[in-house]
Subunit: 424 residues, 4 copies
């Protein structure tokens, strides 16, 4: 259905342009917390993106001509999309609850436009990149680089690179320290509580919880739940993370050792089939199951689509799956990511990510010919530190400066970088 | 507007009877966690109540004929009220967002019904009791007792008692240990996070927060926010609570020492005018202000209703109050209780409270003539322990029993009570 | 062996007067933290005491003529006793490692002195009071009151009172809120770690620990160990404390459910035979067993004095008890109180206790005839708050004062007391 | 002074051979916790070492002929050294409280022995390596490699390597994940509390503390003190660590902002002159100052050796430095490392480090010619994971194994390594 914004422009596809005012207010609320200024000169650059909405306006203000599709069929806030469409600077093709077909249609509408050719790709998950590789490979001739922020997307890029098929430089911003810590540890520490509360109103105190995976996401979830008085068990495959879980006070178990007794099961592994039908069969009545990890592969939801089980949608994003004996499992977001589907990402975290992405875009765009080859790069440590330093004033935090004598003693430049690359 | 439930009964007044199915589902979800069985014989007893909805059905099942009005103009969940109305056993007069007049009208509809006379009052805040005192004092002749669960209501009862005007026995269930800890410490530890997230999506990490009051509610709020990485300051008037705050790692300050620097202000005092216009004038842009304490007196909201300030409703329960220089204060729930308005009370906490109330009702109803005089009583310690013990199986918690030798050594009965009355 | 201090005075009995200088330094270190001033006029009062050393000098400075014996055969610091003896104002009869006979001999030397008659008793455990009852009952004619600070001593006083045998007023300072919280919760939170480290150097991270008893001491121990990364189980007999343990995130078990798997067993019950031979038989090799609770009854140490078990003293206060199969249990302080035997009580806690005791002494001494009968009294709430307020400046803590309007609203005096008596 | 052990061997130099029995008991206590078995075949290899004592016996048991000198003039436990000397397999040249000259003399006695030539160096700090470079460079011809575990030693090796002067392969075990986390984060989380308690008996609750540096050591110190109820401020030079401190709930300040108000100052920077005379002049009376970081450079202790300040040794490792106005600063360990001087390293941490060192030694010793060049290497990730997995059984921790399908999905070998090299 064709809609137009108040300026008569119709080059977008969203749920409802009338929600623009409400969305604009949401953006303003976000900006209350989103205080980082990216101190850069404006430049004109056509940009394709499937990245969070907040970044779009900043990039437009810097001079980018952005076209934007969603990276996930549920992650779009319709009101915010409407506000962007109404603003008119970013072309938006996204709504909450797209079908699989819608999803690819939106991406295609982003890319395939007459008289416009992107020179930068800002991707989140790699679907946009994948689409261009598949449908419009010639576009890469004019593209200066790809900035990718997700585990999956980065994984795909490394595979392309290994296969010798990567035809432009790519920046892996997923693994910058600042972005990692915020997206995973700090954000999930809060969103696990938020997501569970909004969907189930469960009380955390005294609950027994098993968290599968003790990476950054798992660490955040465990710390939050422990602080709220839950008893937390951890499963791990990596002995180093396993030992960390022990030292942080969590019993390290195999899933089947505790599956009968736990009240909540949370997956944070990045793996597939971590919770399978056999586990689900043994859970107790009322057990809550959700995924904080990756994609929708961690819980084998397909195994629950069998005739003897009844599904009952009790709230948005909450299904009761009912066994023949009456046992109910509470499945959240149909096994998709809880933090994307059932909680919001704090604007401060978006600001960290967006700043990282923007700096990476600028770095790739401005880099002299030849600095970056057709390979995947980590964000330079110094830029990582720069992103962090831009966010310190929010906390009224005062950094100490090295004296000349100290810098010399440590063998460091007074302006950083301050740590080796592997430092987290 | 007259509505009827599916059985043709119209003795209720709620928002929309069509929401009954949805509400029934909500109740079922609650029952997933609300597992306590009150192991009592059924009895028939007409009951007036302004207490949480979940209790009503239990009491009905026990044989009570209940009529129910809301205790707060915002606290009713319309769907749940509809489900109760549809069920037909409890007469419901309540909806979310009643006016002051509606509120008293509902109470009157509860009380003033031909051919029905209550013999027990279950009150929350004392308004129901107050109304009967004022309008239908003769009703007390047949009333066997009052069970009251709020600070305010208890306060009123003690005043009646002191003035020699209390004409039936009353049970103060507010000050039972179990109920206190859950309603205040444990519940607020979770609801402060939930309430702030649902309204503002604020990230807690690194935020500076001042919590006014370090009673049970304050302790819960401070512990939760500290665990989420906030920097928390506390104000107190009582040196004992103040010293506890120090020992728990919070800087004890006067409000004006930190008011310019904090990101969030939370009141938990039970006092009035704890945050006044002068404080609000000095807060920084974007500061969030909310009340977890009592009534709506803690923040002097009236002082913000002046011509030079602009109010902007940005979301449900969220107002921006805008100063002439553009500074915005984010006021939640117009200074009313955040945990009642913007978060949900976990069903487990409702179960604790409801069990305490039900036991108190039964105790008063069954007590032999003369055991209770026209006075205010605390729930007997042993019943308090009984409420706790009924909730232990939820956690698969295994209590240790005293041996005869140990009981003798300690001078205790093996079945309790185990602690002196002042033990918390 | 007769010793004299540098002034030629020999009315004391300690280990070694030559340690006086070292002990004086220890006292000075303590005074660095022990900053409370008790702002009172000096008065002359003969005093008997078995209380901590630090208080003695303060009381002497206030004009008391003190004679002091130890309350525990291990708790005396010889150097500090020497310093007091050298100072000459307090007569000291105490050393570390007294025999049972020594213990009573010291008490008798305190009491039984020609030309001196006490008018106040400051007791800790009730042995001193017991001795006078037994040997010198006539002394009570001139005694104005007893101040008692221990659970045991208070228990004995209530029994005397119940039996109608208490012949002077007694003040139970053990149950004042401030004293309780510091002596138990806050102090044990630190001393459990300190005591275990000094004796065993054990690493807490990842250790499985069972804590028997979740009163204030148990709460302190559990919180500290959880924070250090231990996995903590709790046993309880009281359902209210049990539920608190659940909500604080501890699995509530019976001892035999976890006894095979734990690394550390800690008793904090005030009960007897909490850990018995059967439990000890099932512990795993290397398990550490200690008592934070009360007296030396909690662990049935006597049951370990059997021929098939070998005891090996590996360090001061540390025994390995060795089973025939080579299994070793690490028993600390022979089952006596770990915090008294193997760690130090922070001077700040001593200051709280000492201030409470001093105020109670002064209250009893100064009270007009007839205010206190031959009964056991709790410290008045207002004095309890006063003790707390005297210690706030140490933390640079700033108390908020009620406005007149607020005091009226709350129905409180602006100077307190601020809480009901049962508030903890 | 020449001593001989019971077998008549005199090739050692320690404090007192008579302490051997006591030291043997200490070692046995340690072995209670030190349960890792290094499952390797014995081999004969002459080894020079300045590493912890516990490792020596293991290496001897594996067939190494070890000679050992201390890495720090205070870190030797005389009794343990005596036990090793008595055992006779390790030649020991070390005692607590060596002078600077003693220190180098001991190292020389280790190295310079007729008819013996080392083929591996196990160093901690680089002094041993330095001495051989300086005095016996020819020895390197037969040396197969250096294993170095300290920051300083590793720094020196990288400098040698950069300068092209490194003449054998070297393994940097300091930066293995497992070793880092345990030596720094987990160990310091406990030893900061232990070190402060043993020296000062300070109560942590309510104390204001500034921690300089928020690396792994700082993170451990801050977490422990926060958990004990201290109010903690952090200083940092690195914006990434600074942001982490903010998100963990610590105010980030410059030292001079809080120096007047804090009760305790802790340095954990690895830097020099972090606390200088100007800071010390402004501290309040009774402030405790200590170093958890590195060497003895962090606090400018030399600046306190001036005539107007009086030093008073109040206990072992505790000095009062007294200003003309009577102000006292409590300086611990004369500014040397608190955790080495005033607390013990848990045997579990020693086990982690020792296992890492042993595996690195074996790797270098067994490596085929040419695998390692004259360069500095990190411990291979897989060995790092192996060290971790060897320590899991202590915690009864059960690792989950990848299914074939999952391993394929993740692109991992089922036996690891599981994470990229930069993962911490």
């Amino acid at each position: 259905k064709q809609q137009k914004n108040s300026k008569g422009n119709g080059d977008f596809c969203i749920k409802n342009i009338k929600q623009a005012d409400f969305g604009r207010r949401e953006i303003e609320i976000a900006e209350q917390e989103f205080r980082t200024t990216i101190p850069l000169q404006a430049k004109k650059t056509p940009l394709l993106s499937s990245s969070p909405q907040v970044l779009m306006e900043t990039l437009s203000a810097l001079g980018a001509q952005c076209r934007w599709a969603a990276c996930n069929i549920y992650s779009t806030q319709n009101e915010v999309a409407a506000a962007l469409a109404e603003g008119g600077e970013t072309r938006v093709f996204a709504w909450k609850g797209e079908s699989e077909d819608d999803f690819w249609w939106c991406i295609d509408r982003c890319v395939n436009v007459e008289g416009w050719q992107p020179n930068m790709i800002l991707d989140d998950g790699g679907d946009l990149t994948h689409w261009i590789y598949k449908k419009y490979p010639n576009m890469f001739k004019k593209i200066k680089g790809i900035v990718e922020e997700s585990v999956t997307g980065v994984h795909r890029l490394y595979q392309l690179s290994k296969a010798g098929k990567l035809c432009v430089p790519a920046m892996n911003v997923n693994d910058s320290v600042t972005k990692q810590k915020f997206d995973n540890l700090y954000c999930c520490r809060e969103s696990i509580l938020d997501g569970l509360k909004r969907t189930t109103d469960v009380m955390f105190g005294g609950k027994q919880v098993v968290v599968c995976g003790y990476g950054e996401v798992g660490k955040g979830c465990c710390a939050a739940l422990k602080a709220m008085g839950s008893i937390v068990y951890v499963t791990e495959i990596d002995p180093i993370c396993a030992l960390q879980a022990c030292m942080d006070g969590f019993r390290l178990v195999k899933l089947n050792e505790v599956i009968r007794q736990v009240d909540i099961v949370i997956t944070c592994t990045g793996n597939k089939n971590v919770v399978v039908r056999e586990n689900l069969d043994r859970m107790k009545n009322g057990c809550i199951v959700c995924n904080m990890g990756h994609s929708n592969t961690e819980i084998d939801v397909a195994s629950l689509r069998t005739p003897e089980l009844t599904w009952e949608r009790v709230r948005s994003q909450v299904d009761h799956v009912i066994w023949p004996d009456g046992k109910r499992i509470v499945l959240l977001a149909e096994g998709r990511l809880l933090n994307l589907s059932c909680s919001t990402v704090p604007t401060f975290v978006l600001s960290i990510t967006a700043t990282t992405q923007a700096l990476a875009l600028i770095e790739l765009y401005n880099a002299p010919e030849g600095r970056y080859k057709q390979d995947v790069y980590l964000l330079p440590k110094k830029m990582d530190e720069y992103v962090a330093s831009l966010h310190l004033p929010t906390f009224d935090a005062h950094l100490t400066e090295l004296t000349d004598e100290q810098a010399k003693y440590l063998g460091l430049n007074k302006n950083g970088p301050f740590k080796p690359n592997y430092y987290r």
